[in-house]
């Protein structure tokens, strides 16, 4: 078991955002997590990447307890988090934003190769490489954020609504890329999505979160077929 969350409870002040959540995601698995606004998805990801300290519970990654470790330490353990809402640094250029992803590896050559890789996934970024990120369109920024995570060569990829603001074609493309990366690099992915259908379609595992609690966890396809899930989250 590669990522193993058990009995996790997280508070924002007095508000309990995550309560008693347990999830296991095996290595090489793409898990999609869906749930309505405010369900606690972002909070969960932020806890996994070390940005937020939980009140209770444990998180194991590759057999190691990681609660209490700082985000920068977790990056070195292969955890990469694309946070919600175009997490780019507007004042830096596209190239600098990308280099940031690989900065902890301190390897200029690898970093260059990774940039080429990102540019081949998102040609638009390649064209804008010298521009300041604040000139980018909404969707381009989202691409850049994902690109930065790819630069880090992660083993566990935490994606918070990567499809937000992207054109349908690109969404399709990104989902496909995520799927391919998972398989080819034996990644473990936790994908949070409002585009529930798209996410579940490519995922191995589906998780439904509501009001901070897990209400369903199953094979993705099984969730797609579940009439209750369909009605509540897939819109038909």
């Amino acid at each position: 078991m590669s990522l193993n969350v058990s009995n996790l409870t997280v508070h924002h002040g007095a508000i309990c955002a995550i309560s008693q959540v347990s999830i296991a995601v095996p290595t090489g698995t793409l898990a999609a997590m869906i749930g309505s606004n405010g369900a606690g998805k972002t909070t969960l990801l932020r806890t996994l990447s070390g940005l937020k300290t939980p009140t209770n519970g444990s998180i194991m990654w590759k057999g190691e307890k990681i609660i209490g470790l700082k985000p920068e330490a977790l990056v070195r353990r292969g955890i990469s988090h694309v946070s919600e809402g175009k997490s780019v640094i507007p004042e830096l250029t596209v190239r600098e934003n990308l280099e940031l992803g690989a900065i902890w590896r301190r390897n200029a050559k690898e970093s260059k190769e990774s940039i080429d890789q990102v540019a081949s996934i998102f040609p638009r970024l390649g064209e804008r490489i010298q521009q300041r990120a604040d000139t980018l369109s909404g969707g381009e920024r989202q691409m850049l954020a994902i690109g930065r995570a790819i630069m880090a060569k992660p083993q566990l990829l935490l994606l918070d609504e990567p499809s937000l603001g992207l054109a349908p074609l690109v969404v399709e493309q990104i989902f496909q890329t995520i799927r391919d990366l998972t398989t080819s690099m034996n990644l473990t992915v936790l994908l949070v999505e409002q585009n529930a259908m798209g996410a579940l379609k490519i995922a191995d595992l589906g998780i439904v979160l509501n009001l901070g609690k897990i209400v369903a966890i199953n094979h993705a396809q099984a969730l797609i077929d579940d009439p209750a899930v369909r009605a509540a989250y897939l819109g038909y």
Binding site: G35, N37, G38, G138, G139, E161, G165, P168, L169, Q194
Partner: protein
């Protein structure tokens, strides 16, 4: 027939940033009480066109018609007087104001009393009027109950409602929405659909959106931008089947 005159029309809009051609000879027309969709790949220039219509970017060239009359592209601070309102691609609420205050800022232009009477505490009547209007704008998006919350404590879908209420309070003739459904769950998206359709009874709506469900269900007409050019326009159904559009934007899944 007067109804044939477009509420808003632009022609030959060109915008470039340095060497980058962001918009190239773009045209667009919105009829009265029509919901028009503006779609296209990321970075196609949709927001840029919005910005030009709002005075946030000055076009290099182009013509602008309001109610059939040609005029200069608007200045941002004049928009309200021209009857144009817009939401931002991010949400852009004033975080440390209450929800009601947020909307009241949108109704600023209704106030006529000056600084002196404000200093003397005599702007009460104006304030009352603004408050009433703002409240009813909030009711219109079913957010009346949120009035006294600080904006930065709202849930994401609620912020979207408030942003729309803030645009509505100036009673625009043309409402421009930049990705109103982005980041919303399926239930809120349905709600948004409904709202937009209702709004079109009293105003024209120009919509940028990547959610094709929303676009298809509310828009009667679509413009498709790609690399700053209009590559297709027409009724939603025709555009949707346009192979160029499918290749550039929709992909196979939609």
């Amino acid at each position: 027939m007067s109804t044939n005159i477009a509420a808003l029309r632009v022609e030959g809009v060109n915008i470039s940033f340095g060497g980058l051609r962001a918009l190239n000879d773009v045209y667009l027309e919105i009829g009265k009480n029509e919901v028009v969709g503006l779609i296209g790949p990321n970075g196609a220039g949709k927001t840029t066109l919005f910005n030009a219509l709002c005075g946030l970017v000055t076009p290099d060239s182009g013509k602008f018609f309001l109610d059939g009359k040609e005029q200069d592209f608007p200045q941002t601070s004049n928009l309200v007087d021209l009857g144009i309102a817009r939401t931002l691609q991010g949400v852009g609420l004033f975080g440390d104001l209450t929800v009601l205050e947020n909307v009241m800022v949108g109704a600023q232009h209704l106030a006529h009393s000056g600084l002196i009477s404000a200093a003397l505490g005599r702007s009460g009547k104006d304030e009352k009027e603004i408050r009433t209007r703002s409240f009813s704008a909030l009711e219109r998006v079913y957010a009346g109950g949120l009035a006294n919350r600080r904006a930065d404590t709202l849930s994401y879908p609620d912020t979207k409602r408030v942003a729309i209420a803030r645009a509505l309070v100036s009673e625009p003739k043309i409402l421009m929405l930049d990705e109103p459904a982005g980041g919303l769950g399926s239930q809120d998206i349905e709600w948004m659909n409904l709202l937009i359709r209702n709004l079109s009874a009293s105003m024209s709506v120009l919509l940028v959106e990547h959610h094709m469900d929303v676009v298809m269900s509310v828009c009667s007409k679509l413009y498709v931008l790609n690399f700053g050019e209009v590559i297709a326009s027409g009724s939603s159904e025709t555009v949707r089947r346009d192979p160029a559009v499918m290749a550039a934007y929709l992909g196979t899944g939609a």
